[in-house]
Symmetry: C2
Subunit: 367 residues, 2 copies
């Protein structure tokens, strides 16, 4: 809950079967200043029919009444099982007791409350000066897979006291999300409830930030930093994962192609199982790139695993496979680099390995 | 080896890093009648640079010389590890001894010779009459994953004594492959060497088949039957798989959208792990469809697992979850049906479950 109205921006899942809470939140972000976000974990309220829609309306109504604000100023986010009716008694109780406990020191509790299969808290904050005024920014996120065992959803809430209008906030958020949350993958499945929401209430009293200029660039850089910081922790906390894998594609023809190639590797089941097995199996990296339609100058392309060149100029490189396998087994963070030699664009994507623990975890969870 | 020249048609992987053997085979299919196919397993000869190209040339040269035919009449297919130089001594020895052992009763031996991680033979044959002449058709295939543990490749060879010209053969093969081999997925990874080749040598002495008409339709139907028969056995033999899963999407706006929706489900990691866990977790089916861009009339859409309706008209259905879980655990072949209620197109895609055995198999295989 913000002490005063916030300008708001949000990016929301494009899944056809998204939750009615996402529809309502997207509508309210577009049409109204925002004062509050309410999130529940355990139930995604997706594919729940008309009752699901009623439940979202009831939730915004009750919270608005308890806070004495307009219903349109409330955003709703749900994360959890798909296709099960909400327990509205619990929501009702939670709203009434939650409003009584509001405090400015609750960020960590909020971050903990939205966790589902997450194994660690995801909080990031930053502080910077604009017009001599100190601006604070904090973000919390949850997510250990694009979809969890029936507990869908990546959620992220970012709050700042910066004074910034709706359009520049939306622009900065789109830029930040595009190269942070939209550049991670755990299992390739996108949930029905993914939402990233940024609220700015202006209490820092800086001059209102416009859509371009030095102040916008500074704000944008900090928002990106917070988003990236949170986004990295999601594949690091991927279900069953033993490794965070950073994939840098450079020399791509366009930004889109750089991302397509990097995502091609990050979503390859066989690449991800090879990483789990500490196997420097670079053939799977090339096969994954080759399945995308991106331009590759094969004669000049290079692939690295860590700092080791494994493929260069359309031919295998000599390398010490045992040593490289050892590097993979000893490190919790692995870097893959690919130079497509077809242009100047780059993109970094983050993923995790695919383990038997992931499969058991998601197979053994029963509806 | 055919006793006389064959008209030939082929569909080949579009992977950027495909083997030079694929390039040569595609070129020869396009420009020359064909007499022979040579295949090796154990080495994909992909990402092997200039030496790999030389090795393919040497292979076609030697086989052509041994058979006393033109080099352009030879097709080469390789399946196995990526990025490792070919053992040309073995190829040379194999060609010389193989040519001596040619016999019309060797189909089963050939089908066995091309297996890598396959656990059973994949042969299918059919016989039909055109102009009172008996036409024979036989196909052999290998594949237990789109990519195997470094042993890439789905290969399929179909031979017929039917008299059919190049264009109608190509047309019939494209139609057959589109709804058979192009409608299966084990792990979403496409190999660097996938090839389906059809050869027709005309020894049945029927009237040469044209690109349309009754004879074409009959031939096309039989080719489709052989392709579908072989294609089904690949996910059934998927690495670590415990179940074959058939996914029928109906009521789609177009054929493309039907296939996109069915493939969306077939490649969802979470759907596949749920099937392994015998979990009727239909939320994952909807989330997978929702991530594709296909048109869905949510208010009229229906989802079945087996014969049980699990989701209907945008709301969950009541069903006995324990009974449905039991159905999933008792059957080796599972059917999923989705009606998108947005049109009249349908598509059936076949896949298998994702198991911890698959992950261990692919993680523990070391380069």
């Amino acid at each position: 809950v913000s002490e005063c109205d916030c300008t708001a921006a949000g990016t929301f899942t494009r899944n056809t079967f998204r939750s009615p809470s996402v529809d309502v939140s997207e509508h309210n972000v577009r049409t109204s200043p925002i004062r509050a976000i309410i999130a529940n974990s355990g139930n995604a309220n997706a594919c729940t029919g008309e009752n699901g829609e009623k439940d979202v309306r009831f939730t915004t109504q009750l919270l608005a009444a308890e806070l004495g604000i307009k219903q349109s100023k409330v955003l709703v986010c749900s994360t959890g099982i798909i296709g099960v009716p909400m327990n509205m008694r619990a929501i009702e109780k939670g709203i009434i007791s939650g409003v009584k406990k509001l405090s400015s020191n609750n960020w960590e509790k909020a971050a903990r409350a939205i966790m589902t299969t997450d194994t660690f808290l995801k909080i990031s904050s930053t502080r910077f000066k604009i017009d001599g005024k100190t601006v604070n920014m904090i973000g919390i996120a949850k997510g250990a897979g694009m979809i969890h065992p029936n507990m869908a959803t990546m959620l992220c809430f970012i709050a700042t006291d910066c004074a910034i209008a709706k359009r520049p906030l939306g622009k900065a958020l789109r830029i930040a999300v595009d190269r942070s949350f939209n550049c991670i993958s755990v299992d390739g499945d996108t949930s029905t409830n993914d939402s990233v929401i940024a609220l700015a209430n202006g209490m820092a009293e800086n001059q209102n930030i416009k859509t371009s200029g030095k102040a916008f660039d500074l704000f944008s850089r900090h928002l990106k930093k917070v988003c990236l910081d949170l986004a990295k922790r999601i594949p690091k906390d991927g279900e069953g994962a033993t490794k965070l894998i950073e994939i840098l594609v450079e020399g791509a023809k366009s930004d889109d192609e750089a991302k397509t190639a990097a995502m091609g590797i990050a979503t390859s089941t066989l690449f991800k199982t090879a990483m789990f097995g500490n196997d420097p199996n670079w053939g799977r990296i090339l096969a994954a790139i080759g399945n995308t339609d991106v331009a590759v100058n094969k004669e000049k392309s290079i692939v690295w695993i860590g700092k080791t060149v494994v493929f260069k100029h359309n031919a295998p490189s000599r390398f010490d496979a045992a040593k490289l396998s050892n590097f993979l087994s000893k490190n919790k963070e692995i870097w893959i680099k690919v130079n497509l030699a077809a242009g100047k664009s780059t993109c970094t994507v983050r993923t995790c390995d695919l383990t038997d623990e992931y499969v058991r975890f998601n197979a053994n969870y029963h509806t």
